[in-house]
């Protein structure tokens, strides 16, 4: 069973733009008629919502309040079967005014419990079809504050992935991380970036790591004239942040595959070289070792097909079994079905 859903977000919610965008795309692909109503300049600038697949699905009012009259009119016209409000505070305003009387109501609460101080909390508990909490702790806190147990559900937060460039615009953001040793084959991936440039594909490549092979990699960057495209950076703890594609150009099986697994679990598609003993499974494109042309062609394919990137990213997460955006969206869909049943 699918239906028409309106999501309302404000700046006070926990869920990030990339996660919301992923949920929207997932629901649309699953046949739901879903719209997003959001307020605030932050949401207006959210790159993840610029995705072509979401065209016409997002209503942004940079200066309006989400409970203001224009939003109410649009909501009334839409006549959704279910309204999902991503903030306890925002939900309390709607409940206080007796809005949305005919719709099933799903409300997401914050991890820190701040929106449990909302003035109409009891009204929310009476009105809500499902109350969603990001953790057992947050859920327990709400139960203590009177949330009906049968309406409380835990929806663990997805890993935030920011697929900027998902609309095909902006440079493709590549990342590799791991020690800078010859086994990693970074000279070949840097060469692939030079080939990408020749192919007219704009990209930014971050190599995160340190090691004795840094001179060879730095010289490859210099020789190929890639100072603007390739950055060698020290480990920063968030190597996959803002990455569109993970690149693993290893030339040896002895190079650790931990980074590749991290990329898969984070829903970042990869282009990786073949490994003899444990070939990468799902979530990316495998190319021969020491072959910058093959690397570049695979990267160009991903650059030109944001949908493929998304699909591969999803596959990678399924493969590794991590609770990422794919699981998040699937679980949310099942909760919507339950709320409408």
């Amino acid at each position: 069973m699918t239906g028409r859903v309106a999501m309302l977000v404000s700046t006070s919610g926990d869920d990030g733009g990339a996660v919301i965008a992923y949920r929207l795309r997932h629901l649309l692909e699953a046949g739901w008629d879903v719209r997003l109503f959001c307020k605030g300049g932050v949401w207006g600038r959210e790159p993840a919502l610029q995705d072509e697949a979401l065209r016409g699905r997002v209503q942004v009012a940079a200066r309006a309040r989400a409970d203001s009259a224009p939003f109410q009119r649009r909501l009334r016209r839409l006549r959704p079967a279910l309204v999902h409000i991503h903030s306890g505070h925002l939900a309390s305003k709607y409940v206080a005014r007796g809005l949305l009387p005919d719709q099933r109501l799903v409300v997401s609460f914050r991890e820190d419990g701040q929106d449990l101080d909302a003035p109409e909390l009891d009204g929310i508990w009476r009105r809500v079809t499902l109350a969603l909490f990001p953790s057992d702790v947050a859920c327990g806190r709400a139960l203590d504050r009177g949330c009906p147990e049968e309406r409380a559900e835990v929806l663990e937060p997805a890993i935030e992935i920011r697929p900027n460039g998902a609309n095909g615009e902006g440079p493709l953001r590549l990342v590799s991380f791991g020690p800078l040793v010859w086994e990693r084959g970074y000279e070949h991936s840097v060469h692939a970036v030079a080939l990408l440039r020749e192919m007219g594909v704009r990209c930014e490549y971050r190599i995160v790591g340190e090691g004795e092979h840094v001179q060879a990699v730095a010289f490859a960057r210099h020789q190929l004239g890639l100072h603007d495209e390739v950055r060698l950076v020290a480990p920063d703890g968030k190597p996959l942040e803002s990455a569109d594609v993970f690149v693993d150009p290893a030339v040896s099986d002895s190079a650790s595959s931990t980074a590749l697994a991290a990329a898969q679990s984070s829903g970042v598609p990869y282009v990786a070289t073949a490994r003899r003993e444990a070939p990468p499974e799902g979530g990316g494109i495998v190319v021969p070792r020491r072959d910058p042309v093959a690397l570049a062609e695979a990267l160009a394919r991903l650059a030109r097909d944001p949908g493929l990137r998304r699909r591969l990213g999803r596959q990678g997460q399924q493969q590794t079994g991590f609770a990422g955006v794919y699981d998040d969206a699937q679980r949310l869909e099942s909760l919507y079905r339950r709320a409408l049943s």
Binding site: W182, E183, E187, H191, E212, H213, V214, Q215, A216, A218, F219, A220, H222, Q223, L224, V251, S252, R289, R290, P292
Partner: protein
């Protein structure tokens, strides 16, 4: 040639290891044979018993064995007593060294300790083959009051300024060039690179490498057999020599049905170079690409053995990522075999594409394989290129020509 007819021109080479690299041995012995007094001041002695004809050795203390404060003070006092002006000049010059570089070199005392053993030298010419050594002894440039020459052979100008780990030496390049009376560059390409770091065009002297055409000569017979293609590479096992691409090229050739055998001659980089050897990477790549039966690592060989291996080869493959003007190219040409070489640094100044060999882009194993296959399919082309290479080597790149140019440079500087 004696200066003023009484004593020979005295050249001191500083910063070399002992014995020096082969191409430097030829230069030093050649200049000594031309009547120059040649001294090498070295603190990196690998073979103390090694001798070069007509070349003296000054054994400098290693960094770890520099005198302590008392020893330093005594040496300085001795210099003050015997050559007070030199001592003052040296002290002032060391103080002028930027603090960062001084600290990098172990501080004021260490820098002074390095310079003191050489402060009494009174040569006609000082030559630093490596700019990093020139940077270390820069305070002595004023003390000696003789022309100082530095050389740009390759990496120090074309590579190190662009990679991490050599910041201090690279930062000192402009000061070294400013202090030198002349800067020897082994290629036009390096001269241009050096000018980006402050080298005045008027100081630059391009003197290309030379080769002994008697030692490196064709084996006198027709080009060696047709199959398999016998390819040889000669270089230190360092990352900038690009061996991985050579191995990929061999794999491609085999896949294309070209029988090929590659011999790699070269030793591990010495400790002073401070780089890990590429041996493990090469060994892994060999195994990974299934080339164990087709590629052979012969290690470091003597010049005579290298000459013999070149004679027994069909083609020299130079897969480097960076070069100055590689002597081995000239040796191969003198040996009458064609070359396939990457177009980096001064490589294209040593031979003409399609005449003595084939140029390919660096990091392009497919192009390397294509060039080698072409030579395999066309023995007549190999023979033509080999003959042309021999002609070029024996006319443009003789050791005699190189020595004469150095000798002329030193005479000119000393006379000035």
């Amino acid at each position: 040639m004696p200066l003023s007819g009484r004593r020979p021109l005295h050249l001191v080479e500083i910063g070399l290891r002992w014995p020096p690299e082969t191409f430097l041995c030829w230069k030093l012995e050649g200049l000594a044979a031309r009547g120059m007094r040649v001294t090498v001041a070295s603190r990196t002695i690998f073979e103390p018993e090694a001798r070069l004809d007509g070349v003296e050795l000054i054994h400098l203390p290693q960094v770890g064995r520099l005198p302590g404060r008392l020893g330093l003070a005594l040496r300085l006092l001795a210099l003050f007593l015997t050559a007070p002006r030199r001592a003052l000049t040296l002290l002032r010059a060391v103080r002028r060294v930027p603090r960062g570089y001084r600290e990098y070199r172990g501080g004021y005392g260490r820098l002074l300790g390095n310079c003191l053993p050489l402060a009494r030298l009174r040569p006609d010419i000082v030559h630093f083959e490596w700019n990093s050594a020139a940077a270390l002894y820069l305070p002595l440039f004023d003390v000696w009051r003789c022309p100082v020459v530095t050389s740009c052979h390759g990496s120090e100008v074309s590579l190190y300024p662009h990679v991490p780990g050599h910041e201090f030496s690279s930062e000192r390049l402009p000061a070294v060039f400013a202090g030198a009376a002349a800067v020897h560059c082994v290629s036009e390409s390096l001269r241009e690179e050096a000018q980006r770091f402050g080298l005045e065009p008027g100081k630059a002297r391009v003197i290309r490498q030379g080769v002994d055409p008697e030692l490196f000569r064709p084996n006198g017979g027709p080009p060696p057999g047709e199959a398999p293609l016998r390819v040889i590479s000669v270089a230190w096992l360092r990352w900038m020599k690009g061996f991985e691409w050579a191995l990929i090229a061999v794999r491609r050739l085999l896949e294309a049905g070209v029988p090929v055998r590659l011999e790699v001659i070269g030793g591990d980089p010495t400790e002073e170079i401070g780089e890990p050897s590429e041996r493990a990477r090469i060994a892994h790549t060999l195994s990974d690409l299934g080339l164990e039966d087709h590629v052979h690592l012969l290690g470091k060989l003597s010049s005579a053995d290298v000459a013999a291996r070149l004679q027994a080869s069909d083609v020299l493959l130079l897969p480097s990522l960076d070069e100055g003007l590689p002597t081995v190219l000239l040796e191969a040409m003198a040996s009458g075999i064609p070359v396939v070489a990457t177009d980096c640094g001064g490589v294209s100044e040593s031979f003409t594409h399609e005449l003595e060999g084939l140029l390919v882009p660096p990091r392009d194993a497919a192009a390397m394989a294509g060039a080698l296959e072409r030579l395999w399919r066309d023995p007549a082309l190999r023979a033509r290129m080999g003959e042309a290479g021999r002609r070029t080597a024996t006319t443009r790149f003789t050791l005699d020509r190189q020595l004469e140019e150095f000798h002329a440079l030193y005479r000119e500087l000393a006379a000035a």
